[in-house]
């Protein structure tokens, strides 16, 4: 478009050098004046910014949405109670596409561009493993809510923590006695063919062996698979228990096809709730699950003996007694995992306050303060239950729930103890340089 009136022609402006100088001087004066800077004492009252690496898209999207909801609720609760060390908390969200390469980019972006104080919130283990080196290079604390054993294995680095959810090795170890005693001795495992599944593949056989039971077959299924019947003939006929843990958008198909294959003549089923997270257990075709058992991190359905803290947590996040979004009974939450976001944010609050955290220059102090934590009492900050924390392996330990499907609901029938899930540390992060 032609600039007929010369609005954009700089040569015609009447701005003199003197006027320009005056303007610059006035601007500089304003910027220097106390009170103009939004947070006058630099970082002491600026919000604490938490980079949230979210699975908004890709195979983890259903989890990502609920992780965001839970984290937003926790941040609101923390802010309403005065924030962290008197400073407000703010979430900066970036989508990682549930992809490890993208995950590492997101961590770099948080560290270099957004300059967030920490990175938080990752679930899928391959994304955590792919992103951890970037967190180490940037020396930015990385609090994951992933459930995998990779943090506790001490194979990542000193900046990676998992203080809000237990790891698979501990979960399996604490539940193996129950499986061997109540479900059966000959176990066939079905698991996703990537890092998280390998934790199950590697730790279930020794845990069951210790209880006099055996894994007689292991079936790995690619996480992007969309049909499953073709894998079922690999299940040995003498199987007492099928131990299943699947992830991704096709979990419902997996369970449905298992039902079609076996009907009521099925072996016992013991599943990780991952196989049905964000899926209604009353979906058509899942009737055969009645009477089967599931591991639950935190129960999906409200239980008669729920603590006041558990009730308050459910109300704050916005889930009803059936674990669905309040107002939308079809929108099923990922209750077994998302409580970890809530609890991790409270651990971050505690560690930051202990460290006297001021800003990114105190990240090393924050790492040490987190490592110094020992236990988290059950209560509004830790509604899932009490936990201990091992600063050497950056991993918390807590209780597990075993629930039975009964009348279209999940009823907790057994709770493990913290001690059931403890194991010898495989290394020591605190010996690594900061």
């Amino acid at each position: 478009m032609a600039d007929k009136n010369g609005f954009f022609d700089l040569s015609k402006t009447t701005l003199s050098r003197r006027t320009a100088l005056k303007g610059i001087a006035a601007g500089a004066g304003l910027a220097l004046a106390p009170g103009f800077v939004r947070y006058s004492q630099a970082q002491s009252s600026a919000p604490i910014r938490i980079g949230f690496q979210s699975h908004r898209t890709g195979i983890g999207a259903a989890y990502g949405r609920w992780y965001e909801k839970t984290s937003a609720a926790a941040v609101k609760a923390i802010n309403d109670a005065g924030g962290i060390g008197g400073r407000k908390v703010e979430l900066v969200i970036e989508d990682d596409g549930t992809d490890p390469a993208r995950g590492a980019e997101v961590v770099n972006k948080f560290a270099k561009q957004h300059k967030t104080d920490i990175v938080f919130g990752t679930l899928f283990s391959h994304v955590v493993i792919g992103s951890a080196p970037a967190a180490g290079e940037n020396k930015i604390p990385y609090f994951v809510v992933s459930e995998g054993h990779h943090v506790a294995s001490t194979k990542l680095n000193r900046y990676v923590f998992q203080p809000g959810i237990t790891d698979v090795k501990s979960q399996i170890q604490s539940m193996a006695p129950w499986i061997a005693a109540n479900a059966g001795k000959k176990v066939t495992q079905i698991f996703p063919d990537f890092a998280f599944g390998y934790d199950h593949r590697d730790y279930l056989p020794p845990a069951l062996k210790a209880q006099g039971a055996d894994v007689i077959a292991q079936i790995a299924i690619p996480p992007t698979e969309s049909s499953f019947t073709k894998y079922f003939p690999q299940i040995p006929a003498e199987t007492d228990v099928i131990y299943h843990v699947m992830v991704g958008p096709a979990v419902l198909t997996f369970v449905k096809e298992l039902g079609e294959f076996y009907g009521s003549q099925r072996p016992q089923l013991f599943g990780f709730m991952d196989s049905l997270e964000a899926v209604d257990i009353n979906s058509p075709g899942l009737e055969f699950l009645d009477g089967s058992h599931f591991w639950e991190g935190s129960p999906r359905y409200a239980q008669p003996d729920d603590s006041a803290a558990q009730k308050a947590y459910r109300a704050a996040v916005g889930i009803d007694d059936n674990g669905a979004a309040v107002g939308d009974p079809k929108d099923i939450s990922t209750a077994s995992h998302m409580f970890g976001c809530w609890e991790t944010l409270y651990v971050v609050k505690k560690a930051m306050e202990d460290a006297g955290y001021k800003g990114p220059e105190d990240r090393a102090k924050l790492v040490e303060a987190t490592e110094a934590l020992k236990e988290f009492a059950e209560g509004p900050e830790h509604p899932q239950g009490p936990k201990t924390f091992n600063g050497k392996i950056h991993q918390c330990f807590g209780i597990q729930n075993i629930s039975k499907v009964e009348g279209g609901k999940l009823k907790v029938v057994h709770k493990t103890k913290i001690e059931d899930g403890l194991y010898e540390p495989e290394g020591d992060y605190t010996k690594q340089a900061l």
Partner: protein
């Protein structure tokens, strides 16, 4: 005490069912894959055959069909069969409409230039996928099958609905074949495919034929998706696999050949079912891709395609 003995078989696949039933299950699974694949690939093949356009967005029309099937079946209450029947009619029509608009707004403006349309359909792929993510969301949502009859075989159970998908697909393929070979519309389409300019000279409204063919191609993918959605849920990324497999089928069968498409779909579907059951799903994909490479080297026009004139 059982379980004290070391089990050497751990980690390897134990073969438990006898060979016969095992093969039967593999073949059944393969047939279901073939049936859905044949319909989807036929749409792709038709669009290429008549319009000479490689439609990279074809998988997204498939996804759109599944997502709309979910929307329609949830909007209609009552017996699941009613919702499913409505979805089977409404979803493909809506997808056809979207394709018709896309053809009119995009492909026509590019004069059906082969290179430009590839880029344009890649763009359409992303637009449709992201719109689905925005408005439908990232969840996988189930559609209730119209009936849930479980066929009880002596060795294992099998979904009766899955078998009905094979039958429905076979019927639809026969109808498509009849339309193409026995009706005036089919004649016009074949004439346009054979020689666009001569057809135009004989008064065939080529642009309208193109718009119609593009819509029908998308509708075939949508119908396939509605059939499959009670088995595997609607998800915004579900279009990727069918697109890849459709290309494999169409390359092996010969672009634009109906017979080749169906034969190749059955071949790929059955081999996928059988190889992935007896060996591994990864091997099945490797072999399918290898076959494509071989066909491209030794018979570039495909098994049933005609060499370019």
């Amino acid at each position: 005490m059982p379980g004290r003995a070391e089990r050497g078989a751990l980690g390897t696949c134990l073969r438990v069912m006898h060979f016969g039933p095992h093969l039967l299950l593999a073949a059944l699974e393969g047939l279901v894959t073939s049936a859905v694949l044949a319909l989807t690939a036929l749409g792709l093949s038709l669009v290429f055959g008549v319009m000479r356009i490689v439609n990279v967005a074809h998988g997204e029309f498939f996804m759109l069909g599944a997502v709309l099937a979910w929307a329609v079946s949830t909007a209609i209450s009552g017996h699941p069969a009613i919702g499913f029947a409505a979805a089977l009619v409404i979803a493909p029509l809506l997808v056809g409409l979207v394709a018709f608009l896309a053809e009119w707004l995009v492909l026509r403006r590019l004069n059906y230039n082969p290179e430009s349309t590839i880029v344009a359909t890649i763009g359409m792929l992303y637009i449709i996928q992201q719109l689905a993510l925005t408005f439908y969301g990232p969840e996988a949502r189930p559609v209730e099958p119209p009936f849930s009859y479980r066929i009880l075989l002596p060795w294992f159970g099998y979904s009766g609905y899955k078998l009905s998908v094979v039958a429905a697909s076979a019927i639809l393929l026969v109808i498509t074949w009849l339309v193409l070979t026995r009706t005036k519309i089919g004649l016009i389409m074949r004439a346009t495919q054979y020689d666009r300019e001569t057809a135009q000279a004989f008064g065939i409204p080529v642009e309208r034929v193109y718009a119609g063919v593009f819509a029908i191609g998308a509708m075939l993918a949508a119908i396939a998706a509605v059939l499959i959605v009670p088995i595997s849920q609607a998800h915004y990324l579900m279009g990727q696999d069918p697109l890849l497999l459709s290309f494999i089928v169409v390359i092996i069968g010969g672009l634009g050949s109906l017979r080749g498409t169906v034969v190749a779909a059955v071949l790929i579907g059955l081999s996928d079912g059988i190889i992935s059951m007896f060996f591994s799903p990864t091997l099945a994909k490797i072999i399918a891709t290898l076959v494509v490479a071989m066909v491209l080297v030794f018979r570039p026009q495909g098994l049933f395609g005609t060499a370019p004139r």
